[in-house]
């Protein structure tokens, strides 16, 4: 009787080991598959950090759709440090550089009525950001 009990325990032990090993192997392979795919689930990405693709560009002055009663205005803005800023307007164009803090300013001349000013920022990697500024030049009383 004792011998039979020992054999039964041994069979149970071996079967248990096989099942546990099977579960462990399945679990491990499932985990590896998840790691191979860059997962965004849970907000964690396992892929390499991406290079910066977008640039910051903010126009501080003048406000978009504002009305100026002066022909010459100063455009002030902020972008990423040391980026190249281009400004295209009806009467001309400017290429300037933002300073180490990203600040830039340029004086431009307006035409009477509607003025569409295209402002763009470029970095060394060739990334760019653009904004359109609409300004109306009118000396009339409103």
């Amino acid at each position: 009787m004792k011998k039979e009990i020992l054999i039964a325990i041994l069979i149970g032990f071996i079967l248990g080991l096989i099942i546990t090993f099977g579960i462990w192997t399945a679990n491990k392979s499932l985990k590896n598959t998840q790691e191979e795919q860059p997962s965004t689930e849970g907000g964690i990405s396992v892929s390499e950090p991406e290079k910066k693709e977008t640039l910051a560009l903010e126009i501080i002055e003048p406000k978009n759709n504002s009305i100026s009663d002066e022909e010459e205005i100063t455009i002030k803005g902020n972008a990423d440090p040391s980026t190249v800023i281009t400004i295209i307007y009806q009467e001309g164009e400017e290429i300037i550089e933002a300073d180490e803090e990203g600040n830039f300013e340029a004086e431009i001349t307006l035409v009477g009525g509607a003025n569409e000013i295209q402002i763009s920022a470029f970095d060394e990697e060739g990334n760019e950001a653009s904004k359109i500024l609409n300004i109306i030049y009118s000396t009339a009383e409103i």
Partner: protein
């Protein structure tokens, strides 16, 4: 028969010991994987960000109230005192004040009834409590001509000194441009010393990064007649430069 039953019971009992062990292995592995807690944190951050953006937008709109503003564009619809303008930012609905001055293309005052669809107008007025523009002066004018100029950037791959033509390549966009220089083209160059100075065509070097504003024309490659150029010294010049290096003016 009884013995077989006992054997079976012992096997099942032994197996039952291993099932919690197997679960333990699973549980340990699951602890390593990212938990959904991060997702909810991200959602919370997104919600807070959106709420802050909405609040800032509200404050900005409140502050704009009473400010002088203007829109320009062709008239899309006219409904009583309300005009819809097609601006560069999309359609904008403005309300014409009853005492508004409406100026025709001739420079003389006209009536609201004289306005027609597709006329290009400059509408000036004040932002109301409803964040709508109330027009006090509306001027009909010719649609302003687009400057036609555009900006390109890339690295100089070839310089034709005789014709004063540059070939530049924008690696990011995979585009090649031909840049024509004429006597009116303003050229500046930022040397390895970090100083930007006025330059001549002969100062430009291969591998300089170029920022060009000019009038485009098309053939096999895009050709730009440059109005203004900023060249930034390429990486090779930066490496070989010494503190005593100078840039030509």
């Amino acid at each position: 028969m009884k013995k077989k039953f006992i054997k079976l019971l012992i096997i099942i009992f032994t197996l039952a010991i291993f099932i919690p062990l197997g679960n333990l292995v699973f549980a340990q592995d699951e602890e390593i994987t990212p938990t959904p807690k991060v997702t909810s944190e991200d959602e919370n951050v997104k919600e807070i960000r959106e709420a802050v953006q909405d609040k800032v937008k509200d404050i900005l709109e409140e502050n704009q109230q009473g400010e002088k503003r203007g829109y320009s564009g062709p008239i899309m619809t006219i409904e009583n005192l309300n005009l819809t303008l097609q601006t560069t930012e999309g359609e904008k609905v403005v309300k014409v004040a009853t005492d508004a001055a409406i100026i025709g293309q001739s420079g003389k005052e006209i009536e609201l009834e004289d306005l027609k669809k597709n006329l290009f107008v400059v509408a000036m007025g004040y932002i109301t409590e409803e964040a709508k523009l109330e027009i006090h002066r509306l001027v009909v004018q010719e649609k302003p001509k687009a400057s036609g100029k555009e900006v390109i950037n890339g690295v100089i791959t070839d310089i034709s000194t005789e014709e004063e033509i540059l070939t530049i390549k924008n690696e990011k966009k995979g585009l090649i441009f031909t840049v024509e220089i004429d006597k009116n083209t303003g050229i500046s160059r930022k040397g390895a010393n970090g100083k930007t100075v006025k330059a001549k065509f002969s100062d430009l070097e291969e591998n300089d990064r170029l920022f060009v504003i000019g009038e485009p024309t098309e053939n096999e490659h895009k050709i730009i007649t440059a109005s203004i150029i900023l060249a930034v010294a390429g990486p090779e010049e930066e490496k070989t430069s010494t503190p005593s290096s100078s840039t030509s003016e």
